[in-house]
Symmetry: C2
Subunit: 312 residues, 2 copies
């Protein structure tokens, strides 16, 4: 009986590798996994998890021999690590291999929003360039003031890229970092007041819930743009929607949302928001690297080696 369970979608190519490595059971979701037989669940010692639904103590208890949850993604806020530790369940994630992609997407979303990329593209595709002439002007990005909220590894990769756009870099972090001339702020409102663009690169989870509060959004103001590539939970989404509707915030470029993919329909009525469907790590290359790191953690566990990227 298999002792590895894979939860969530895999590409055919990835599934072939996983199959050869572990001969695992598969479930499309955590809810489906609960429907496995008691004998099947009882044999599972390691779960490779790909999903954003809450994985708490009750879900863990359905697998009495469970010793590892190997998360696909750097953000493991869906997994209750306190409950896991209490049950001697180790949790791993897939850090670092996705930093480049997330930082690339951040720069892309900021540039696309300010330069009106999508509308300008449609202008060509719809034949309006030929019939009506030039598209309206966008806004210059290089040389502006950028605030990074959370200067972890991803935040720093974002800042390094934007520095090459001659940006003035400001950041908030729990403590001042050794940075090349970047301006530290100990308070997110001070950060938001000081910049044109505020980029949210916090970790998710209860500690950062609504960290981008109404006060932070107000401080960013009617000429500011909020970019969120972290988690929907880090932003007070009601306050964000109010500010966007009232134009007390200039605009937002959002890759993440509360309750995604079922995002608040108020967003779709706005013309000052740019969207991506949680594409931070969504490249062929990076998803393959994340899948490999997830498998490597499962292999390490099932063969009694040290986990590569443990989080508890």
């Amino acid at each position: 009986m298999s002792n590895v369970l894979v939860i969530g979608p895999e590409s055919d190519a990835e599934r072939a590798i996983t199959e050869a490595a572990f001969d695992p059971l598969y479930s499309p979701s955590l809810a489906d996994a609960a429907q496995l037989s008691e004998a099947e669940r009882g044999a599972i010692t390691a779960i490779a998890y790909r999903g954003h639904h809450a994985f708490g103590g009750a879900e863990m208890d359905a697998f009495p021999a469970l010793g590892l949850i190997a998360n696909f993604g750097v953000g493991y806020d869906a997994i209750d690590t306190v409950a896991a530790s209490a049950r001697d369940v180790r949790v791993t994630n897939t850090p670092d291999v996705l930093n480049d992609d997330v930082a690339d997407l951040t720069v892309l979303m900021l540039l696309a929003h300010e330069r009106q990329y999508e509308g300008a593209s449609r202008w060509v595709r719809d034949g309006n360039w030929s019939s009506q002439g030039a598209y309206p002007l966008g806004r210059k990005v290089s040389g502006r003031k950028v605030g990074i909220l959370g200067l972890g590894r991803i935040g720093r990769d974002i800042a390094d890229r934007l520095a090459a756009f001659k940006s003035e870099i400001h950041y908030f972090a729990r403590s001042q970092k050794d940075t090349p001339g970047w301006q530290f702020h100990s308070d997110p409102v001070s950060l938001a007041q000081s910049v044109d663009y505020l980029i949210v690169a916090l970790v998710g989870g209860p500690d950062t819930q609504n960290f981008v509060s109404k006060a932070v959004i107000d401080a960013l103001g009617p000429n500011g743009v909020l970019v969120n590539i972290s988690r929907g939970s880090t932003v007070d989404e009601g306050a964000l929607l109010d500010a966007l509707e009232a134009n007390t915030l200039g605009g937002a470029a959002l890759d993440v949302f509360l309750n995604e993919p079922h995002i608040d329909p108020r967003f779709l009525a706005l013309d000052n928001v740019s969207f991506q469907p949680h594409q931070g790590s969504a490249t062929v290359e990076t998803r393959a690297a994340m899948a490999q790191l997830q498998r490597d953690n499962v292999s390490a566990f099932t063969t009694g080696q040290a986990l590569l990227t443990p989080v508890n």
Copy 2:
């Protein structure tokens, strides 16, 4: 009678400044300008030109007292500078003030093409994320090999930005430059063979016509992406369309085209091309800076001072 003629569209704000400075005549196009009376044309000593239609010796001869054509834009390939010099007509352009915007747009177009930004955005807007799940994966940009064709000031600004994306930078220029570890190629085919992304940052005009030849396009190959932010004339557009249709070139991100804005309709049938409607310098900030530099050149000429940015 006015001795300054403004050709091409101006925003109301810019027009107010121009009006106060020169009390000029206005024409929407070079063709319209030829319809001015002989007396009006005879009084014109300086033309502020905004357009891409050919401004040759015949057009200059319609203004017998002409001494300056102040071009709006860094690329002055529409203006026959040989004919101008033969008539003692000075030509100026607006270099440098637009470099940042063009470099920003280049990075934006490359990222948007590879990360499938536009399709992913539509996926959210059309409700497909909610009803159908994740959007297909894009391709990773950071860490790839980038070739810059033409390492002038704009080319270097592009390379500086892409270096922050951990790119391996290759370039073609007339001579090797003092660059930080970038790989010089004396031949554009060698450059195209060595890279994943080929970025065209050449000046326009007859010397660079079809510089991106079928051989260069073939060398870039089925996994390569061509980015053109220079002039449509620098690329053999027929060969480009053939290669895109046959998938012997992976893709293209194009801000400039032959005969723009009336672009070849073959482009619009392709799903491996990203479009912008010549947005290189199209921001509020940069267009204002270009207009100011154009006016400063006209002022310098009409008051007998040295031109700020002469090209002949």
